[in-house]
Symmetry: C2
Subunit: 230 residues, 2 copies
C-alpha cells in the first residue's frame, strides 16, 4: 500500500492511475527499448534485466508498470503489429478513390515493408517472433496477424477480381509468399545497402506483377492443379 493502491482492484492489467507524465514517459521508454531488444534478440534472448538496463532501471522496477514479462512482451508485439497495420491501411486509404487495385496492393506492400524496416522495431519484432512464441503469448498475436493477413487477402482478391492478377493462381499461397518475403527482409536488410527500404518494397511489387525475367511470359508453369485459391 506504499504504492497507494486504492483497493478498488485493478482489472486485468496493471495500469497506474496517477499518470504523472513522467511515469507514463518511463513506461513508454520501457516499451520502446523492449521493442528494439525483442527485434534484435528475439523473445527468448531478451531478459527482463536486459530491458531494465537498456531503459536505465532495474528488473524489479518493471513490475510497477507491467504484470509480467509476458504481458510486457505482448504489449510490445501487438502494439507494434497494430501500428504496422494501421500505417498500411492509412497509406492505402490515402490513395485517390479511383486508384487501381494494383496500385492499392503495391501501396500496401511498400508501406508495410518500409514501416517494419525503418519505422518500428516493435513491428519488426512481431513479424519475427510470431510462430516462435509460448502459447499463451502467441494467441493474441496470432489473432492480430490473421486480421492483418485478411486485409492483404482482400487486396489480393480485389486485384484478382478485376483482372489485375491472374485469378487462377492459389491466391493464399501467393499472398503468404509475399508476406514471407516482406517479413524476412528484417533478417538481411541493411540501410546502407544499394537498395533503400522503399526500393525493396518496389522490387517485391515487381516480383508479384511482372517478375524480373526477360523471356516471353509463361502464364502458368503447371497447366494442372493450380488450385482455385484461399
Amino acid at each position: 500500500m506504499v504504492t497507494a493502491q486504492p483497493e478498488g482492484r485493478e482489472p486485468a492489467r496493471k495500469r497506474r492511475a496517477p499518470v504523472t507524465s513522467r511515469g507514463e514517459d518511463k513506461r513508454r521508454r520501457i516499451l520502446e527499448v523492449a521493442g528494439e531488444l525483442l527485434a534484435t534478440r528475439g523473445y527468448a534472448g531478451t531478459s527482463l534485466a536486459d530491458i531494465a538496463e537498456a531503459a536505465g532501471t532495474h528488473a524489479g522496477s518493471l513490475y510497477y508498470h507491467f504484470d509480467s514479462r509476458e504481458q510486457l512482451a505482448e504489449e510490445v508485439l501487438t502494439s507494434g503489429t497494430r501500428a504496422a497495420m494501421d500505417h498500411t491501411r492509412a497509406a492505402v486509404d490515402a490513395l485517390p478513390a479511383n486508384a487501381s487495385s494494383r496500385r492499392r496492393l503495391e501501396t500496401a506492400i511498400t508501406a508495410h515493408v518500409a514501416f517494419i524496416l525503418e519505422r518500428s522495431p516493435a513491428a519488426l519484432a512481431g513479424a519475427r517472433a510470431v510462430g516462435q512464441l509460448p502459447p499463451p503469448l502467441a494467441e493474441p498475436l496470432h489473432a492480430l496477424f490473421r486480421e492483418y493477413g485478411d486485409y492483404f487477402a482482400e487486396l489480393f482478391e480485389a486485384a484478382a477480381a478485376d483482372g489485375a492478377i491472374d485469378p487462377t493462381v492459389d491466391l493464399r499461397a501467393a499472398r503468404m509468399l509475399v508476406v514471407g518475403a516482406a517479413n524476412w527482409t528484417a533478417e538481411w536488410f541493411r540501410p546502407d545497402g544499394p537498395s533503400s527500404a522503399e526500393d525493396v518494397g518496389q522490387l517485391l511489387c515487381r516480383l508479384i506483377f511482372d517478375g524480373i525475367g526477360t523471356g516471353r511470359r509463361r502464364p502458368a508453369p503447371r497447366p494442372t492443379g493450380a488450385g482455385e485459391h484461399r
Copy 2:
C-alpha cells in the same frame, strides 16, 4: 543420393568409443526428434526434458551422446541445413548439362522448398531458427547459411549474366526476397491445402520470372535508383 555423411571425424565432440549399433541408433533417434521439436517449437521452446521424453529417455541421459544442449541443437540445425543444401545441389546437378540458367534456378528453388516442407524437419528448424539464436550457436549456422546463400547467388548471377533475368535489378535483394518467401513457407504451409509443396515452389518461380500480373509488363517500377548490386 543426397546425404551420406560417413561419420568420419570426431574432433572436439564427445567421445566416440562405444558404437554399439544400438547406441548409434539412439543417438540418431534423439537427433530426429530434436529436429521435429525444434521445427515446431523453436529453440527457446524446446527443453532437454522435452527432447528426452520424445526420444523415450531422460534429460540426464542425453549427456552421454552430446556435450550440451547447444551442441545438440547445433548438430541438428547445421546437419538439417547442410542436407537441404546438398539436396538442392544434387537436384541442379542432375539436370542435363545444357539446361538453361533459368531452369537451373527454378530447379534449385523448387527443390529447396519441397525439401524443407516435406523432407526434413531439421532443415526447416534451421531456416526458422537462424537469426533467433544465441550468438555462440548462431555463428556456425550463419556460416552455413552464407554458403547456401552464395550458391543461390551464383544461380541468380548466372541467370542475369545470360539475360534470363533483368541484370539491372539489385540481385542480392531479389535473392533474399525469394529465400525469405521460401523459408517463411514453414509458417503457413499445410500439406492438405490446395497447393502441394511442389506447387508452392513453382508459384515462387513464377513470381520471380513472370509475376502473376496480367497487365503489360512494366520493366522497372522506378526508373531511378535501381542499384547495380553486389
